[in-house]
Subunit: 237 residues, 2 copies
């Protein structure tokens, strides 16, 4: 599915806040006529969007995929859309079967705001030195301990992850940071993007990034970039 995360407190169900999971489960349960839990490929933070988010569920109902898509979409609000559906093997699980994920971070690099995407792109007014940012980005590629680049609220013991690629594309006023890896820690993409922007602003020297990594301390990295520029772009199985 794709969703615009603006109005939601992330994917994962919470007791006291509206989440994508709750809304999708409600729609799916109506179509399948029985309470149905879904398993998402990832939590996403409040305000974060998804271009291709994958979830799995089991059902005894004999229903064609196309009818399921149409039925569920009919019960979903404008900001969530089921894009496709297929039957999987019984041991498939959207989260545990996931091999890699790709995130996109969208920046509108302009003096003037984009009236069509206030909640869909991070507006950044300063000049961007894309070549410098690419140099900085290259340090992240590979297998590293990303403890310096995750939130203090990270709950995972093992902070070693592999980033397969981290690309920065600029077209007119729009900059897209694309990062693919085997997994991501809490706020990791947003802190990496924030660090790339700190490099652009001369606050961090790109050559220092390996040292920051070795320090294993969040305080040396850049700020956490705002949630509304971030998209879960693809998931790989």
């Amino acid at each position: 599915m794709a969703y615009r995360g603006t109005k939601y407190h992330g994917f994962q169900r919470q007791n006291n806040a509206l989440t994508i999971q709750e809304v999708v489960e409600k729609a799916l349960s109506r179509v399948l006529d029985t309470p149905t839990d879904i398993y998402g490929c990832s939590r996403t933070d409040a305000g974060v969007h998804a271009n291709k988010f994958c979830f799995s569920f089991t059902t005894q109902r004999d229903i064609r995929c196309l009818n399921l898509i149409r039925g569920v979409n009919g019960h979903l609000p404008d900001d969530i859309s089921i894009l496709s559906c297929e039957e999987a093997q019984e041991d498939f699980h959207a989260r545990f079967s996931c091999k890699a994920k790709e995130y996109a971070y969208l920046i509108h690099n302009s003096e003037c705001k984009n009236p069509f995407a206030a909640d869909l792109q991070y507006q950044y007014r300063r000049n961007m030195d894309i070549d410098l940012m690419k140099k900085a980005a290259s340090h992240f590629v590979g297998t590293h301990d990303f403890k310096s680049f995750c939130s203090a609220h990270n709950e995972k013991q093992d902070t070693v992850r592999t980033i397969y690629n981290l690309d920065i594309e600029k077209r007119d006023d729009f900059v897209k940071v694309l990062v693919k890896g085997d997994g991501f820690l809490y706020n990791m993409v947003r802190i990496i993007v924030g660090t790339l922007l700190s490099v652009n602003e001369g606050k961090i020297d790109q050559a220092q990034i390996p040292e920051i990594m070795n320090a294993s301390d969040r305080q040396f990295a850049g700020k956490t970039a705002q949630a509304h520029g971030l998209y879960l772009n693809r998931v790989f199985y």
Copy 2:
């Protein structure tokens, strides 16, 4: 300026509904510290958007363009954005000096809705025969009486207009109809797009379009396409 028209009853000031003109005049008047009227290049319908809308105004204040842009944008909501500003000759008027206008109509041609653009693209589920629609489009290009292709509420006596080009581009699931002309009657672009869709659906034969034109009667043309797919794209002086 660019604006997302979703929340507004068009550009032109009205007594009982929120319009772009009212909001921009309020912001501009605050920056210039005196009540200031603006003159728009065009009325737009409720829900219609603009990528590059031009307005003019006069002021005695000595203020740099960049400061004006920043100041006014600071007082505007997220869905309206001043993009540029320049000093014009005294006889310039955004509407009367206008030589040509270009509109874009955006169609999301998909079974599934786009959660990022529910109010920014018209969702159309049927297959589109772009070649057939291009044939239909070719009949509109040139100087014609467009009385069959304007709303009954059109107030203009002279219904002859020149369309310079009418192009249809498809990229993935997105179709853009681009039409440039010396001027447009009330609802003219939306009725032309609705007619192209009627041709696609086999309700109107593309070869009949010249006859429909000659009939000078709105009832023979297609439906009026919904407002939220339409953008005033550019204005030429």
